[in-house]
């Protein structure tokens, strides 16, 4: 086996793991936005999830408990957003930005005692035969369960939105909340549930970073991935499959630039670190140039305050 071929496995594996946090955060936000709510607080919810998950795993030694608490913490942060925007009718953009700032500060506060503490590894899948396959075995069949859960969420979210009645109702609420209300649907309750789901997904995304991707706690560990997830949703024109492609692209370029740095090519490392963000945005802008597509898929009530007066 040549050295080039030997590289494929690790690169593929690294790409899948780099894409996972984006996948969770973006799919969660996709459901939130399809219900007509714009929550810009993804980064903040991810940070709260990351630190809570890390704290619980560091105390209990169980990464499963860590992920569960991270989902709850993310949903709890999102509930704050839901109360402010859906019940008290605060502006969604301002509240979302505030939520991110809040998450940055809160996670730093909680995380003070956890910097530099080691935690146990998240167990990885091992299917005898498959995992031992040459080149791709480790990458495709040797990841931890969260990576596969993330991949499974893509068809699951698609099936929920386009294959179930609840999904249809959620899309209807995001499309025209006044009409949905007139038909007797509980707009605020449906949106609140969507916001909670988005928060839980962001929490898991954050915990994946602190428990798995780089198993440690550091302030600002999400490094702007919450914002990339938000961008992914829009540029993927609110389609789960395209979110997956965008997340893979981001993951792929992240790994590629690490390898380029490793080869010692004379390009400033800051420039290379910028590449995944730049590449994701550029490619998705190119994909979504077609404004007609955006208008057909964008939830028409996105970000609009709903007040149920008749």
């Amino acid at each position: 086996m040549s050295a080039d071929l030997a590289l494929i496995g690790p690169v593929l594996a690294a790409m899948l793991t780099a894409a996972t946090p984006l996948l969770f955060a973006a799919l969660g936000e996709l459901v939130v936005e399809k219900s007509g709510v714009l929550n810009l607080g993804v980064e903040g919810m991810m940070l709260v999830g990351a630190v809570c998950g890390f704290a619980v795993t560091a105390q209990t030694g169980s990464s499963t408990a860590g992920f569960a608490i991270a989902a709850l913490a993310g949903a709890g942060t999102a509930a704050l957003f839901g109360v402010l925007t859906l019940l008290l009718l605060a502006n969604q953009v301002a509240t979302g930005l505030a939520l991110t700032l809040f998450g940055v500060g809160l996670s730093a506060l909680i995380g003070q005692g956890f910097v530099g503490i080691p935690i146990p590894d998240v167990p990885e899948l091992n299917i005898p035969g498959l995992t031992d396959l040459p080149v791709i075995g480790k990458a495709l069949f040797g990841q931890d369960a969260v990576v596969y859960l993330g991949l499974a969420m893509v068809p699951a979210v698609h099936w929920f939105l386009y294959g179930t009645r609840r999904g249809l109702i959620l899309r209807a609420v995001g499309e025209n909340h006044a009409a949905a209300h007139a038909l007797g649907y509980k707009v605020i309750r449906i949106r609140f549930l969507a916001v909670l789901f988005g928060g839980a997904m962001s929490g898991i995304a954050g915990a994946y970073l602190s428990l798995d991707y780089t198993p440690m706690w550091a302030e600002g560990i999400t490094a702007g991935r919450g914002w990339i997830a938000l961008a992914l949703v829009v540029f993927a024109t609110w389609k789960p499959g395209r979110v997956l492609l965008g997340a893979w692209l981001f993951g792929g370029v992240t790994i590629a630039q690490l390898h380029v740095q490793g080869l010692g090519i004379d390009i400033p490392s800051q420039l290379l670190s910028m590449l995944p963000y730049l590449a994701t945005v550029v490619v998705l802008v190119l994909i979504s140039r077609d404004i007609a597509r955006i208008r057909l898929n964008a939830p028409a009530s996105l970000g609009k305050v709903f007040h149920p007066d008749a």
Partner: protein, 521 residues
């Protein structure tokens, strides 16, 4: 005698489908329904009449469970009933077709209908049922199409089929024909008559009195939240019905004398637009002119390019070809709304809140927004609030705007009153050219007559007026000439006295494909 025969004799007068007793509903600052009594019998088509703000919408929302009455009882088939929400109303067998369709543009017909049903079942079976019902009542519909591709008439069919699938005993129709061509309205009436013959009660709300005379068996008239009378509309005239609604004598505008048109004020030459918006209708080679002293009416069902034409004329949408629109001979296609206003153009957009007026601003601030162009309201960049206030008060006085003063927020006014204010704001500037979209949409008979008189007076003073409207009766009252917009194309204009509602109705359905300038006489 056994109990069965006893109960039939007791039920010798069958129970009313729906009876309202003393329904009262109060909103902050107004009594929307004041002890309203209403009886609806099985199989009747019952009209609910009244001006804007008379309480019709509130009353039907109470029947449909959207609002709850503060006092009064509601009897369904003789049983006292509480209707907690629209789903509860649907379970009883009450269906409603809304004035502003409650449809979802990016969903399919079947998905839209499914959302309005409580037990829609699987999509395939539902599509089958939709096809059957639309066949039976002559409402052709394809369940798989997306709603944004449908015409307004087809969208209404979606709403009606959605109601019919629930086998309703009472169907409420709120202004159903305001967006239909005359031919589409005739088809709707046939459907409604079939339904009524099957025993379904229809509660019909409309401003169009001729329609009510043609269709309805009974009419109940509301004024100021109270029932002021009921009648058999077939035995009344449109005028007597209108006078019952407004409570005073109706003064109708006089028709314009023919042939007074002067020099062209607005010319549109080969105007075509392209839009990125998939919901937009592109204009295709539209040409017309409006002369001083005349009113040109542009008819057409909504969504055939009216919004795009308004945007191109007002300057909201800039045109690549400046000469496509000229005002008094000057090419203005490249100029924005402000420059066009300074050249003498005034316009009243169709959308009152958001385009015609800023909902959160007071009336005097709204008066300032377009009034600054010709009224001395701004001096060296500073607003002269005293003058803005007196300008707003002049509009309120001259156009009988019902409001508690110039400080009232625009959104606090009813639709008709706000429309009078907006039209007044433009007319008091004495524009040489006025473009109006849907001047009396949703406006009651009294206010509509006032707006029509003002437009005609403006034209008689030598201004050129362009009216874009879906209401043919209105266009026939106002216009010297009428043209029709269909799928972004404009027909040639016809002098109003040489055409008929039927002919314009056919044009609105797209029956014109002759080359331009064929019927110039």
């Amino acid at each position: 005698m056994d109990s069965a025969t006893l109960s039939t004799t007791r039920a010798s007068t069958p129970p009313h489908r729906l009876e309202l007793r003393g329904i009262t509903k109060r909103f902050p600052g107004c009594l929307a329904n004041d002890s309203v009594d209403l009886v609806l019998k099985p199989g009747e088509i019952h009209a609910l009449l009244g001006e804007n703000g008379a309480g019709k919408s509130t009353l039907v929302k109470i029947i449909y469970g959207v609002l709850h009455a503060d006092a009064g009882t509601l009897l369904w088939q003789g049983q006292e009933t509480m209707i907690p929400d629209p789903a509860g109303a649907r379970r009883l067998g009450i269906g409603m077709v809304f004035q502003h369709f409650s449809l979802f543009d990016t969903l399919t017909v079947a998905e839209n209908i499914s959302l309005g049903l409580d037990n829609p079942g699987p999509m395939d079976a539902l599509s089958q049922r939709i096809a059957e019902v639309s066949e039976r009542y002559g409402l052709s519909l394809d369940p798989r199409r997306h709603v944004h591709h449908l015409s307004v008439g087809e969208r209404q069919r979606v709403e009606i089929v959605r109601c019919l699938l629930q086998d309703p005993r009472l169907l409420i129709m709120d202004e159903p024909t305001s967006v239909l061509t005359p031919q589409e309205a005739t088809r709707l009436f046939e459907t409604l008559r079939v339904l009524a013959a099957e025993g379904c009660t229809i509660l019909y709300i409309s401003h169009k009195l001729e329609e009510i005379r043609a269709l309805c068996d009974t009419a109940t008239v509301l004024r100021g939240g109270r029932v002021v009378g009921s009648c058999d509309p077939r035995k009344e005239t449109a005028r007597s019905l209108a006078e019952m609604m407004i409570g005073t004598e109706l003064s109708t505008p006089e028709r314009l004398p023919h042939g007074v048109a002067g020099a062209p004020k607005l010319q549109v030459r080969h105007l075509s637009t392209t839009s990125d918006n998939p919901f937009a209708t592109n204009l295709k080679d539209v040409s017309f002119e409006v002369r001083a002293g005349e009113i040109l009416g542009i008819a057409g069902v909504a969504g055939n390019g009216q919004a795009e034409l308004m945007a191109a004329l007002s300057g909201e949408e800039l045109l690549p070809e400046p000469a496509a629109v000229t005002i008094e001979g000057r090419p203005v296609g490249h100029l924005g709304p402000r420059e066009r206003r300074e050249l003498g153009l005034a316009f009243v957009p169709e959308e009152r809140l958001g385009r015609g007026a800023v909902p959160e601003l007071s009336l005097s601030e709204n008066a300032l927004l377009s009034g600054y162009a010709r009224e001395p309201l701004v001096r060296s960049g500073l607003v002269h609030f005293g003058r803005a206030r007196s300008y707003a008060e002049r509009i309120i006085g001259a156009f009988n705007v019902v409001t508690h003063g110039h400080r009232a927020e625009a959104r606090s006014l009813s639709g008709g009153n706000l429309q009078k204010f907006i039209i007044g704001r433009e007319i008091l500037q004495r524009p040489r050219l006025l473009v109006v979209g849907q001047p009396t949409w949703g406006v009651d008979a009294g206010a509509a007559a006032a707006i029509h008189r003002a437009l005609i007076a403006l034209a008689q003073d030598g201004a050129a007026v362009l009216v874009i409207s879906q209401d043919l009766d209105e266009l026939f009252v106002l216009s010297n000439r009428i043209a029709v917009l269909f799928h972004g194309r404009l027909s040639d204009s016809r002098p109003t006295h040489q055409t008929s509602v039927e002919e314009i109705g056919l044009l609105m359905g797209g029956l014109f494909n002759h080359p331009p300038d064929e019927d110039e006489e």
